[in-house]
């Protein structure tokens, strides 16, 4: 235990902030991610993350905290995607691809300009791969509040989102304003992606969104369980990742900690792969005539 939890781990202010923010981010991503997966919107999540990269790097350039850049760009992108979404599916794919390319190009420019001013490459790393150990304490309340708001919104929409994932016609026939619900959900997704971008980086934020939810969906049958398992998986990956990153300070090359994002993303992948090792697949009891066909004679 001594070797896992290095002395001074929990006394360190940045570590405690990292554990707190990490938990909020993981729960938000985990819960919202379940709906991203069942609505088939993983690509939308990834698109938001790409555009958030532009916002984060732009914010760095003008001296703002990158979270506000992630958030502003994410929300703007969500609105834009909704606008494009009314057109044909094919046109939407092409348009999204072109816009994403341009967004990442702008991010490259902003990050380059940033290095001219600050003579450091820290900005690129922070935006792209996260900065959970160097979160400035004054943004912590904003991070936590955004996470809670996004979670409350999605909790309120839980049943409506499930019904429209089952069939949007069924939801519409019951009077659900499917389009508005989709827009509100996309905004919550943008908030969640921005939070994950702060923790493990814009490029990797979707890993925390999709990974734990995909894992949870393979092992849980009901929506409540899926959300709980997803949130807990995300928190476990994030916390263990933070502890390992802290420990890695003493790993080679000595005196340089490994990035948290590496550990978190790797742990998420391991969790997902574990569900393939032994999936507790609870098959439905079939009706008698089908059972008869399956059972040995």
């Amino acid at each position: 235990m001594h070797y896992l939890f290095e002395p001074g781990l929990f006394a360190s202010g940045p570590v405690r902030t990292a554990l707190l923010v990490g938990a909020v981010v993981a729960v938000t991503s985990g819960v919202i991610g379940v709906f991203t997966v069942i609505r088939g919107q993983s690509f939308a999540g990834h698109s938001l993350a790409d555009v958030a990269t532009t916002g984060g790097s732009g914010a760095f350039l003008v001296g703002l905290n990158q979270f506000w850049g992630f958030l502003a760009a994410g929300i703007a992108a969500a609105a834009l995607m909704e606008g494009i979404g009314v057109q044909r599916r094919r046109g939407r794919d092409v348009a999204t691809g072109v816009v994403l390319g341009a967004a990442l190009g702008a991010a490259a420019l902003f990050l380059y300009l940033g290095t001219l001013h600050t003579s450091t490459t820290g900005a690129s790393f922070t935006v792209l791969f996260g900065s959970i150990f160097v979160i400035s304490p004054d943004t912590v309340p904003a991070l936590i509040a955004s996470g809670i708001i996004a979670l409350v919104v999605v909790a309120l929409l839980t049943r409506v989102l499930l019904l429209s994932s089952l069939s949007s016609d069924l939801a519409r026939a019951k009077g659900v304003p499917v389009r508005i619900v989709g827009m509100v959900y996309l905004a919550a997704l943008a908030v969640s992606v921005s939070l994950a971008a702060v923790a493990i980086g814009a490029v990797l934020s979707t890993a925390l969104l999709i990974g734990p939810s995909a894992t949870a969906l393979r092992v849980s049958k009901s929506p409540g369980w899926a959300m709980a398992v997803s949130a807990l998986t995300g928190v476990a990956a994030t916390w263990i990742g933070i502890v390992l990153a802290y420990d890695s300070y003493y790993w080679p090359p000595h005196g340089h900690g490994w990035p948290v994002s590496f550990f978190v993303v790797t742990l998420v992948l391991i969790g997902y792969l574990l569900t393939y090792v032994k999936r507790p697949r609870r098959l439905a009891p079939r009706s008698p005539h089908e059972g008869a066909e399956c059972s040995p004679a």
């Binding site: 839980t158 049943r159 409506v160 499930l162 969906l217 439905a284």
Partner: protein, 269 residues
């Protein structure tokens, strides 16, 4: 139409206004007139089949009744009144074959619960009464055995039962089903038809069901709405499904052949 059904309808006609009325409905989609002058009405406990070839406009007609599609002309009335959000809650709906991913985190009982209050915000608190209501809806369609199975892992016929329970739990007066028999094996097909026939009889729910083959429904159907060539012919099956009637509807020669209590509609020479 059976004698018993005829009596039931006659009795209902005497005392009840029409549950659902379509009055001169026309639909244009993408500049093309898909349906014109569709007029028919339904009463409590009646079993009506919307029959017609693929692409004839059966789904379109159901979407108009559900308010998902605005007709270009005509009116839809429920209990003699234009449809509003309140009267709409009297309609239960089972959409065309859903493709449900096996990883969808919904058990059969969750799907049925969504029929109760899936359009509301927030969470539902578990209660004894709620649980009983869900169990009852599942039992009504013979799906209680797999209440706790993931709906994406059930067979087509089992999913269909769960979706019917989902539609039934809000106690609708009218149940619309879009091609519920498509892609089912013969046995499941018979079982679903039996369940629906029983619901119409015992719970006095009017059932409006679309299908491309009328044969599985001949034993339960009180009335047919035959859709072809953008128009409908409606009435008791025996009166509507005749060579003369369908030839007029299709606009070209059609032969109706009856073989061993089965009806075949074939293009004429």
């Amino acid at each position: 139409m059976t004698n018993e059904a005829a009596q039931r309808i006659a009795a209902a006609q005497a005392t009840q206004p029409d549950l659902l009325t379509l009055d001169g409905i026309g639909v244009r989609l993408g500049g093309r007139q898909v349906l014109s002058d569709v007029t028919f009405s339904l009463r409590k406990g009646e079993f009506t089949g919307i029959i017609g070839p693929n692409g004839a406009g059966k789904t379109t007609l159901l979407r108009v009744i559900l308010g998902l599609l605005e007709p270009s002309g005509g009116r839809v009335l429920i209990n003699g009144e234009p449809v509003d959000s309140k009267s709409k809650s009297a309609i239960g709906y089972v959409p065309q074959k859903l493709v449900i991913d096996p990883d969808m985190p919904l058990r059969a009982r969750d799907v049925v619960a969504l029929g109760l209050d899936g359009h509301r915000l927030g969470f539902a608190l578990p209660s004894r009464q709620r649980r009983d209501q869900i169990e009852a809806a599942l039992s009504d369609v013979g799906a209680a055995r797999y209440a706790d199975a993931r709906v994406g892992e059930l067979s087509g016929g089992e999913q269909q039962r769960v979706l019917i329970a989902h539609a039934l739990i809000s106690r609708p007066k009218l149940l619309l089903l879009d091609e519920p028999l498509a892609n089912l094996d013969l046995r499941s097909e018979q079982e679903i038809v039996a369940v629906l026939g029983r619901l119409a009889r015992e719970q006095q729910i009017a059932i409006l069901l679309s299908a491309h083959d009328m044969n599985p429904l001949l034993g339960v159907m009180d009335r047919i709405v035959y859709v072809a060539n953008g128009r409908v012919a409606t009435g008791p099956t025996d009166e509507v499904v005749t060579s003369e009637g369908l030839t007029r509807l299709y606009g070209h020669r059609v032969d109706v052949v009856r073989v061993q209590n089965r009806v075949l509609v074939v293009a004429g020479e």
